[in-house]
């Protein structure tokens, strides 16, 4: 009854609005600007605008990245102008669950997303969706999304008052919803429940490049727990060595095709005994090792360190290969953490 009335009143209220003609102005604007508008590029969702502007402020003010740095993908490829639309893409770091000898851990994967939507696109990807809501799996088939299918996520960065200093601070608000009630334990396994929470915290903090505390909401209401994990009042990322896989590849991306005329640079982050990370290039079918190189990341601190290693591929025949980076286990008990990327090498 009320709904019908509101519908009728709004439709009626719009009916006598008689817009002026702007076709000539639009034509001249498109001819002049070639697609760029005075107000910048379109941003999905109202909250997106708020968050995007806050994110810029955070980056400018020099926040601390939760994982030390977002090194990894070649800086030359982190932004690219897609000449057709002129919209800038960038890489968003998304954390996913994968297996290690120490049980499930988080791996970091870089996804190419619209530069104006990094924050939202990264969090949508973390629950297995793209910004339009369609299913989106990790690029690496070894990774998985810990959230039940149909989980929705909305997030924003809000100003908050720091309870200790009284100064102005920020809080990331993540609101989860969807088909399943996500409050109770038992929806996902206990070890993956806390990883799922960490996954969103680290993805959100990575997207704003700062260790901003995260407040969790369910269906828009502040909640004391999600998946049975206590979330009140706010959370920040936990111990890196207890949460993350000890090696995570940033470059190359899964499925990349590389030309064997060019050297292949492998980048990642890791923490290993004496800092040693060994990277191999193996045949996809037969596991034959074509090349192997050590690199030094770091150790002794509760974080992952960047490493880089470059391979000359000129003697590697075309075909499908796997790049494997592995931590060192001096005990010899096979407790190495590894991360892999499948690549195609061509002439």
């Amino acid at each position: 009854m009320t709904e019908g009335k509101v519908r009728q009143l709004l439709n009626d209220a719009a009916e006598d609005i008689d817009p002026g003609d702007r076709l000539a102005s639009i034509r001249s604007a498109t001819a002049r600007r070639g697609g760029r508008t005075a107000w910048g590029w379109w941003v999905t969702g109202g909250a997106g605008m708020v968050a995007a502007s806050v994110v810029t402020a955070l980056v400018v003010s020099g926040g601390v990245n939760p994982q030390g740095s977002l090194t990894g993908p070649a800086t030359t490829s982190t932004t690219r102008s897609s000449s057709i639309e002129g919209v800038n893409d960038t890489l968003a770091a998304v954390y996913y669950v994968g297996d290690t000898p120490d049980g499930p851990r988080l791996y970091r994967e870089f996804r190419r997303v619209r530069a104006d939507l990094v924050f939202h696109a990264a969090l949508d990807a973390a629950v297995g969706r793209d910004i339009e809501g369609a299913p989106l799996a990790p690029l690496d088939p070894d990774y998985r999304v810990p959230w039940p299918a149909g989980t929705t996520i909305a997030a924003q960065v809000l100003p908050a008052v720091d309870s200790k200093s009284g100064g102005l601070d920020e809080v990331i608000e993540i609101s989860l919803g969807g088909d399943v009630d996500l409050r109770e334990r038992g929806i996902v396994s206990e070890s993956e429940a806390s990883l799922a929470i960490e996954q969103l915290i680290r993805t959100a903090q990575g997207a704003v490049s700062a260790r901003v505390p995260v407040r969790f909401l369910l269906e828009g209401k502040v909640t004391d727990q999600v998946l049975g994990v206590s979330t009140a009042p706010t959370l920040t990322a936990g111990s890196s060595l207890d949460t993350l896989a000890h090696v995570s590849l940033s470059d190359p991306a899964e499925g990349r095709t590389v030309d064997n005329d060019n050297p292949l640079t492998v980048r990642g982050v890791g923490n290993s005994f004496e800092g040693n990370i060994v990277t191999r290039i193996q045949g996809w079918e037969d596991d034959a090792v074509f090349a192997q190189k050590p690199a030094t990341a770091g150790w002794m601190e509760d974080r992952l360190f960047p490493f880089t290693v470059t391979f000359d591929l000129s003697n590697v025949p075309p075909g499908d290969y796997v790049v494997i980076s592995s931590t060192d286990d001096p005990s010899g008990r096979g407790r190495e953490h590894t991360d892999t990327r499948r690549i195609s090498i061509m002439d």
Binding site: D18, S25, T30, W39, W42, T44, G46, I84, H120, E219
Partner: protein, 176 residues
């Protein structure tokens, strides 16, 4: 609007002209409900068309283009509100008692009263009411577009409707 707008293989200039012919009026009306200022609404929709032109190579399909235009108009209307204070200016111009409301029998006055009432509810309520009841978007579509939960959409719709009812008084009761 044409039922089957075939824009396959169309260049962006032509696509803009076709979509303008089909949707310009409805999109400006949508924006007027959100920002209440017709000139600002026309600016908003004009900008949305210019942006759509730049993305045509990716959209290519009239349904996607219309979906894009609607989202762009909703987002840009909010931005227009924030940056220009359109509603505030409007409210200052027409303080209660200054309007030309003559009586509930006159449909023009009722329309104006409804548009004015929309400026009196919160931004969120206004957006949810317009998207839900003017565009007929689902709660889920609105939740995703506005970055809020479905529960919040429901509650904004409920409170917004109640607020409109209070604000409209006789207009609400006497509209057929």
């Amino acid at each position: 609007m044409p039922a089957h707008l075939d824009l396959t293989g169309t260049n962006p200039d032509h696509a803009v002209e076709q979509l303008y012919a089909a949707h310009w009026r409805a999109l400006v009306r949508l924006s007027v409900l959100l920002v209440h200022d017709q000139a600002a609404a026309e600016d908003v929709v004009q900008d949305a068309f210019v942006a759509m032109h730049g993305r045509w190579s990716r959209l290519r399909d009239p349904d996607k283009a219309l979906a894009y235009l609607r989202r762009a108009v909703v987002n840009r209307s909010r931005s227009a509100l924030r940056h220009r204070g359109v509603v505030e200016r409007y409210v200052r111009r027409t303080m209660p008692g200054e309007g030309t409301v003559e009586g509930p029998s006159e449909s023009g006055s009722r329309r104006e009263a409804v548009r004015h009432a929309l400026t009196q509810v919160s931004v969120r309520q206004r957006e949810v009411l317009v998207l839900r009841y003017y565009l007929d978007w689902s709660e889920l579509q609105i939740a995703e577009a506005l970055g809020i939960s479905r529960g919040a959409v429901k509650s904004h719709a409920h409170r917004g409707s109640a607020a409109l009812r209070d604000l409209l008084g006789d207009w609400w009761e006497e509209s057929a």
